[in-house]
């Protein structure tokens, strides 16, 4: 057994251990304090002279008398189908007073890289019942689609509404939810757990909780444990797992802390240069695998510091995830729920999940045209505040009105309003038909012929 009492330096979450036998990179480490308390960690750097250990809990109480034990293995976590229904801490210990989890297997929490050749392209439409998502930023099974939000905005409500309403049409299959709290407040966590209890989702869910009051450094492993569990449920048990990770910004703060403790050269705005790579090792753990029946769908939530989407956390996330849903402060202030700003939002997998045989043949053209119209309407709204409505041509005035109608009727909906995709698409046509047919250049003629409502247009024209 490799156990040492040779800590030479402690800096933040890092221990520098000397005079060891060869220790492996990323080895799992346990640290035993003089009072018998143990903490866990991982090897960050290893050489003949010293080993750097990163402790996942706070380093309070660690001194030079502390024993450091190197396991010879990488961090693994016990996994079991019986984890469903359980509430665990950020490092996987039961918090619900329930029994210890008897492992069926142990898994490396770093996960393994899925061979792109072995992936199946996600293409199954998930109906969330929310028009701005289903109609214009469609979620598909196996996608990683984050909510980009800001502090104080109702991203949790939206995530919960999605979790509650998500269905894949025509299928009764095994769903599971893995909920991973990363540094959020007790109240926020309660909101999720209560809701999961109320809807019965908890019985087919696993909760990992790292709260704001828990050691920040734990946050490095919490999402990895959650995803390891999700993958086990998906690829060993065949569940379709929806994984909610919130708040990824807190995760990145923890990385920043470690980087600072290691005195690394920082990348943009103080974050480590490897932030992209690190985030990819989390977000890429979603998808479908050939010959396996389950799937992992990721719904990460992140709050943009200062609502700034160029901040490294949303920026690098957007470069990795398969789109993003923007929660807008502007719409929220106007009492629009859900305050989803469709313009900067995107679902990169939308095109494979919609269309004939999946949603409807007119879906894409309709969505494109709604985008174009709304974007132009918003520009004009800006213009109208400067030059006045009357200085706009009649065409422009219609577009201005269109943007308002779009927000009021299409974007806005009830917290429990679960719209079918047909309802969403028909609503889209209702609104589009307020614009003259000739303006709808994004829509091929046959589709326009089939769906455009001439009566509405004539009423508007009057």
């Amino acid at each position: 057994m490799k156990e040492y009492k040779t800590i030479n330096k402690i800096a933040g979450p890092l221990l520098f251990v000397e005079k060891t036998e060869p220790v492996g990179y990323k080895e799992f480490v346990t640290v035993t304090l003089s009072n018998g308390e143990t903490k866990r960690g991982q090897v960050l750097e290893t050489s003949k002279d010293y080993v750097i250990v990163q402790v996942f809990e706070d380093t309070q109480g660690i001194d030079k008398q502390t024993y450091v034990h190197f396991s010879g293995e990488i961090i693994q976590m016990p996994v079991s189908g019986k984890m469903l229904g359980r509430v665990l801490s950020g490092i996987g210990t039961p918090l619900d007073g329930g029994r210890k989890i008897i492992p069926e297997d142990k898994r490396d929490i770093q996960g393994e890289v899925i061979n792109p050749y072995s992936r199946t392209l996600p293409d199954e439409f998930i109906q969330t019942g929310i028009s701005t998502i289903d109609g214009m930023n469609t979620l598909v099974r196996g996608q990683k689609l984050p909510l980009f939000s800001g502090s104080g905005l109702p991203h949790n409500e939206i995530a919960l509404q999605i979790a509650r309403q998500a269905t894949v049409t025509g299928e009764e299959e095994s769903f599971a939810v893995v909920f991973c709290a990363i540094g959020i407040t007790q109240e926020e966590a309660k909101q999720f757990i209560n809701e999961f209890e109320r809807t019965g989702a908890l019985q087919r869910g696993v909760v990992f909780l790292n709260l704001a009051s828990d050691p920040s450094i734990e946050r490095i492993i919490t999402p990895r444990m959650a995803l390891t569990t999700a993958e086990f449920l998906a690829f060993d048990y065949g569940y379709h797992v929806l994984t909610i990770l919130t708040d990824m910004t807190n995760y990145c703060e923890a990385l920043l802390e470690i980087g600072a403790a290691r005195e690394e050269v920082p990348g943009r705005r103080g974050y480590p240069g490897y932030l992209y790579t690190d985030l990819a090792s989390i977000y890429e753990r979603a998808g479908l695998i050939k010959d396996k029946s389950g799937s992992v769908t990721q719904l990460p939530i992140l709050t943009m510091p200062g609502d700034d989407k160029t901040h490294p956390v949303p920026d690098l996330s957007g470069y990795i995830t398969e789109g993003q849903i923007f929660v807008s402060r502007n719409l929220y202030r106007k009492n629009v729920y859900p305050p989803i700003d469709v313009l900067p939002s995107l679902s990169r997998l939308m095109n494979s999940g919609i269309g004939k045989g999946k949603t409807r043949a007119d879906h894409k053209a309709l969505s494109d045209q709604l985008y174009a119209g709304y974007a132009e309407g918003l520009d004009l709204r800006g213009l109208a505040t400067i030059v006045g409505k009357d200085a706009l041509t009649s065409r422009d005035q219609r577009l201005l009105l269109f943007a308002d109608t779009f927000e009021k009727r299409f974007v806005m909906q009830g917290r429990d309003e679960n719209r079918s995709i047909e309802t969403t698409l028909e609503l889209g046509w209702d609104i589009l038909s307020t614009l003259p047919e000739d303006e709808l250049t994004r829509i091929p003629g046959d589709i326009l012929e089939a769906h455009y409502r001439r009566e509405t247009a004539e009423d508007e024209g009057d």
């Binding site: 060891t20 060869p22 890289v113 920026d315």
Partner: protein, 588 residues
Amino acid sequence: MEVSLSSYSSNKEPRIYKVAGPVVIVENLNGRMYDVVLVGRNKLMGEVIEIEGNKSIVQVYEDTELIKPDDPVENTGTPLSVELGPGLLTSIYDGIQRPLPLIAEESPFIRRGVAIPALSREKKWTFVATREVGDTVKGGDAIGYVDETANFRHHILVPPYAKGTIREIASGEFTVTDTVCTLEDGTNLTLMQRWPVKKHRPFYDKRWPDTVLVTGQRILDTLFPLAKGGTAAIPGPFGSGKTITQQQLAKWADADVIVYIGCGERGNEMTDVLVEFPELVDPKSGSPLMDRTVLIANTSNMPVAAREASVYTGITIAEYFRDMGYDVALMADSTSRWAEAMREISSRLEELPGEEGYPAYLASRLAEFYERAGRIETLSGGEGSVTVIGAVSPQGGDFSEPVTQNTLRVTKTFWALDAKLANRRHFPAINWLKSYSLYQDQVTPTLERSYPGWVTNMKRLMELLSREDELSEIVQLVGSDALPEDQQMTLEISRMVREYFLQQDAFHDVDTFCPLEKQYMMVNLILTFSDNAYRAIELNKHVNEILDLPSRPMIARMKYERDYEAYSKKVSAQIEKDFNELFGGEEE
């Protein structure tokens, strides 16, 4: 328990001294720069990137977890090389040319330390010799060929530095390692050769690119054309269309061979290409697009050190096909991930950081890479080209960052993606005011010959678009209604250019690829409409009357028409009829 350092072995074998992520320091290696070494008991592949005293710094292409100090290291004594020969096409490799389909046979997850040759050692190819015993051959000369896919002839070339008189040569069925030809000096030639990736393959001479690479993407071909053998940069924030543009080029560009490198990007995007390309038909050859494609995948969750290798592996494969006299197009999505990998390794080496933490050699590495593009005269006197199209992912979408800036200094075509356009679903979201092509003057004379008026048309489009930009500034102050009718008309015509012509839907069966002739006809229709429209304004017609003409929405739908020639005639006739009626109305 305390142990002294003496528990470490003290012999002079190469041993690991330190492991920090992908960077491993080895003692007593006695290697040269860029030697490939096998690290640890799993024999993970790595490359020597720095030597200091008896310590060599190695970047390892695989995950180094559980690698320990004192583990053994083996020096292969050769630099990182790729295997070149029949079997490259239709393949998908990782960054160091390991075939992903074969790795997938074991497990859907990528395991470490797998050693599988890039080219199958079992598969037999039909080799047809085109040279005879007694012929003298030199590097770059073809000695025969293999029909690799239904429509692709893979020429078997004498490796660059070999030469001599053929002693033996035979047609027949061979594996890539069988000898197909022996020279007098005893050199055996096989269907396969190796080449170190960091060294460009030699050629006789470089020529100025003068032929357009037809992409079937209207804004590119008509406004910002790329030349065969040229270079292009596509910078843009996330979601602006870098990947789709690259994939569109991989699908529709009129090259003979496509090398597509997924460098540090999404796994699903590579899967997408793998699923889609075998289904799509190359308009030129009639074969599946996959038949002319080589894919290299080092996705964002794969080891960082292999990012750089993926880029070099790709360009070396591209040069190899170029040397056969083919036009090759290479896409790298995204070069920023490669740059970030450099930064990560550099910071582990504690090198002095340059701008934004990137190493000082960022600029020269990028320049060297793009320099490997070009239209060349091959060693055997033929002509081939490598076109390089690099995506750039600027952090925060800010083009002033070092990777974008250093790339723009060495590339000659700039397709600037714009989040504002993408947000309103104007695709391709290429900003027409910021983009440019320095090949325009070289490639347009040929276009002009096939399509008279091409150059004037292009200039008129650009004028319209920049006039629109000026006018919209005025609109911001006074509103659109206050503009005189002719200026309102300009805004409407340029809207037609943007919406009817520039916007192109990559996901529409017909619109995804637009032949040059169709582009030409579309522009002609818009400009004909425009000429008539201004005349009508002069005759005191109102903008609204003109906008209501039935020919206008007809032009809009031209992009979706497969039989564009017939449709164009129809629209043309309608324009004539519309305006005749309008002008006729005046005379009454």
